[in-house]
């Protein structure tokens, strides 16, 4: 480290040591869209590593910058600052037609004046592959997406789901190093979307290509990804496997955006090397993992998933006490809204085990016991 710049210091690159190769590396990428009247920061100093053969998902609400990040990787936009690397090579300013990266567009962007086959072979023709190779590869990908019969159709004459497959085939045909999917399933109806989710996983498995998938649908992200990044207002908040993200959200936004969460205000009474004791009610103290930022004497929020809490009628022994204020029956489970003693509302999803009647009527005094191992201290 000879000349460590300020730019470099402000970057927080994750640990480069890993078993797999890094396919895409984004270093401190910032993207500012400037117009005559205003400037909008779509990406704010984002760093990220996507590994080879990974199904990686960028998840976030609309306008969080996930599509911008994807367009930086594809080369449709260039960053205002920072670097994009593909297998170690700096491709920041490469035009899109030189990058071995292909995109499945949100609206598919199939060429309406061409047939299915012409669409799929377009990329290969541009790469000046031989005729024989083109027809062989096209046949392969047509088989891969099960569209052989419709190869000679015009793209306007096939259904939405079929267009989706053609778009996939077209992007896969040049065998890109990374496949980018921009909200590619959002135009499909529910049933078709579920089929395509399975299909996508299969294709990723069979081709071994790194997939980068952008979505705003948290359920889709959880079911499909190997790893995922949660984004909001131009920043990456947390990167991890779906299990890590769901069970151990580090920030309040992540906990709120993915699944339901209860947030409890607590007071840090003591801490050891890696854990802290947090007082959540006069009668209950939780012993939770904590990083250095959590200091005794400060107030923190703690997230509790509604399914990780249980109702009991024995009010005194429970962590929290309150009264049932609302109850909705869902078949496999029942949602209870509990009004706690301090006035806050707390949601519990109670499993309906066989033979159990609905036990807690609105107005009943109840206790809430918490599963300590799944509770999480949050950063704001």
């Amino acid at each position: 480290m000879l000349s460590v710049s300020n730019v470099y210091q402000s970057c927080k690159l994750s640990d480069p040591v890993c078993s797999r190769q890094i396919a895409v590396e984004i270093q401190c990428a910032t993207k500012v869209f400037e117009s005559r009247t205003s400037s909008v920061t779509a990406l704010d100093n984002v760093s990220l590593e996507i590994q080879q053969n990974e199904f990686f998902t960028l998840l976030g609400p609309s306008g969080c910058g996930k599509t911008t990040l994807l367009r930086l990787i594809a080369g449709f936009e260039h960053p205002s600052d920072g670097q994009i690397r593909l297998y170690g090579e700096d491709i920041t300013f490469w035009p899109p037609y030189q990058r071995p990266v292909n995109t499945v567009f949100q609206n598919y962007a199939l060429f309406p004046h061409m047939t299915v086959r012409q669409n799929i072979s377009f990329g290969l023709e541009m790469l000046k592959r031989s005729k024989a190779e083109i027809s062989k590869t096209v046949a392969e990908v047509l088989n891969l997406v099960r569209m052989e019969e419709l190869a000679e159709r015009r793209v306007s004459d096939i259904s939405g789901g079929q267009q989706q497959r053609v778009a996939l085939a077209r992007a896969l045909a040049p065998q890109p190093k990374v496949l980018l999917l921009d909200e590619s399933l959002s135009a499909l109806d529910y049933k078709l979307r579920q089929d395509m989710q399975i299909e996508l996983k299969r294709l990723q498995h069979e081709t071994g290509i790194t997939f980068v998938f952008v979505t705003h649908d948290q359920e889709e992200a959880l079911t499909m990804s190997d790893r995922m990044a949660v984004m909001n207002v131009g920043k990456i908040l947390q990167v991890g496997t779906p299990g890590e993200i769901y069970n151990f959200p580090k920030q309040r936004f992540v906990a709120e955006f993915i699944g339901d969460s209860n947030f409890l205000e607590g007071y840090v009474v003591a801490r050891s090397s890696s854990r802290a004791k947090v007082e959540l009610s006069p009668t209950y103290c939780a012993d939770l993992p904590a990083d250095d930022a959590v200091q005794p004497g400060t107030r923190v929020s703690v997230a509790v998933r509604p399914e990780q809490a249980t109702l009991t009628s024995a009010t005194t022994a429970a962590a929290l006490q309150g009264r049932v204020s609302n109850m909705v029956y869902f078949g496999t489970h029942t949602h209870y809204v509990i009004k706690l003693e301090n006035g806050d509302l707390f949601t519990v999803h109670q499993q309906n085990l066989s033979g159990h009647e609905i036990e807690y009527e609105p107005g009943h005094a109840v206790g809430v016991t918490l599963n300590q191992s799944t509770m999480q201290i949050l950063k704001d």
Binding site: M1, Q27, D81
Partner: protein
């Protein structure tokens, strides 16, 4: 991480700005370059000559047409005033004024007649089922794209003394002697209405087609009758279309040349004919130029009025 990797990061900021600015500049240059040939032709054969016309209004008329390069306000003077050849007294050019008046009167009459005929027609088309709507629209557009001269001929054929209309009327015994319609102000007005009617129907249609008929239902629900619905709901909502249609008919009517020449029979001149006359038999180019600029100004004022009214409409919505 290699040292040069860090180096690139250090420099990246300036590299990014430079790359960004260069690409923006290149793009802008390309865009402008693509427009240059069209702009050049337009500058040479449309915009530029208008400036020369302006210059010509301040020159002296040549004896055999053309101009003498001598500054003079005679061209503008003669637009509104005339000088007696014998005693040099100045009086108002009543011949010109009556032509101005006729141009305005006939243009406004044609516009109103076109509105009265065009509004129900546009409404009729807009309320057809989507499948047949394009066909009706097509039927309106066809006459618009066919030769204006031919359509004027057609009208001429129809209303001549021995024309089809008079022949039919006499045949059915409605009249004994043919009604003299051709070569009157009425025939010019009718002709202009006829040739510019599609220009009224098309913008009206565009407005009515966008009309939300749930508002009409709401008005009926609130006890409005047919007429009330028409004048209190539909007309105010499609006002932009009405204004656009009226402007589109009024402007070409005001500058019409072919229709008054063919249907006016040389005695009922309009502004367009008066202008042409100065470059032909009149041999008074500066006057012709001044008349042209006058006409242009009136047209521009009408257009400005139109732009202002549409902008206000948008501001209301915003």
């Amino acid at each position: 991480m290699s040292p040069d990797h860090k180096d690139t990061l250090v420099k990246s900021s300036t590299r990014h700005t430079r790359a960004f600015k260069a690409s923006r500049k290149r793009q802008l240059q390309n865009n402008l370059l693509l427009c240059v040939p069209a702009l050049l032709v337009l500058a040479l054969a449309a915009v530029g000559p208008l400036l020369i016309v302006l210059v010509y209004t301040f020159l002296e008329a040549g004896p055999y047409g053309g101009v003498v390069w001598q500054w003079s306000f005679e061209g503008w003077f003669e637009v509104f005033l005339k000088r007696d050849i014998f005693d040099g007294t100045v009086s108002i050019a009543d011949a010109h004024l009556s032509i101005f008046w006729r141009s305005f009167k006939l243009s406004i009459q044609s516009t109103l007649l076109a509105l009265v005929l065009g509004f129900p027609t546009a409404y009729f088309i807009a309320t057809r089922p989507a499948a047949t709507r394009n066909l009706w629209l097509f039927l309106i557009t066809i006459p618009f794209w066919t030769n204006l001269l031919i359509r004027t001929f057609a009208i001429m054929q129809l209303i001549r003394d021995q024309g089809i209309l008079n022949t039919l009327l006499i045949g059915f015994g409605v009249i004994d002697t043919p009604i003299e319609m051709l070569y009157t102000e009425f025939s010019i007005m009718l002709g202009m209405t006829y040739v510019y009617l599609p220009l009224m129907v098309l913008p009206l249609y565009a407005s009515i087609e966008k009309l939300d008929f749930r508002l009409v239902e709401a008005a009926y629900d609130l006890y409005a009758g047919r007429l009330k619905v028409l004048f209190r709901i539909i007309v105010p909502l499609v006002k932009p279309g009405i204004v656009a249609g009226c402007i589109l008919v009024f402007i070409p009517s005001l500058g019409a040349y072919v229709t008054p020449r063919v249907l006016g029979g040389g005695k009922n001149l309009m502004l367009g004919n008066l202008i042409e006359l100065q470059f032909g038999q009149g041999r008074n180019w500066p006057l012709g130029a001044a008349l042209s600029i006058t006409l242009l100004c009136v047209v521009m004022i009408s257009l400005l009025f139109y732009v202002r009214s549409t902008q206000r409409k948008e501001a209301d919505r915003g």
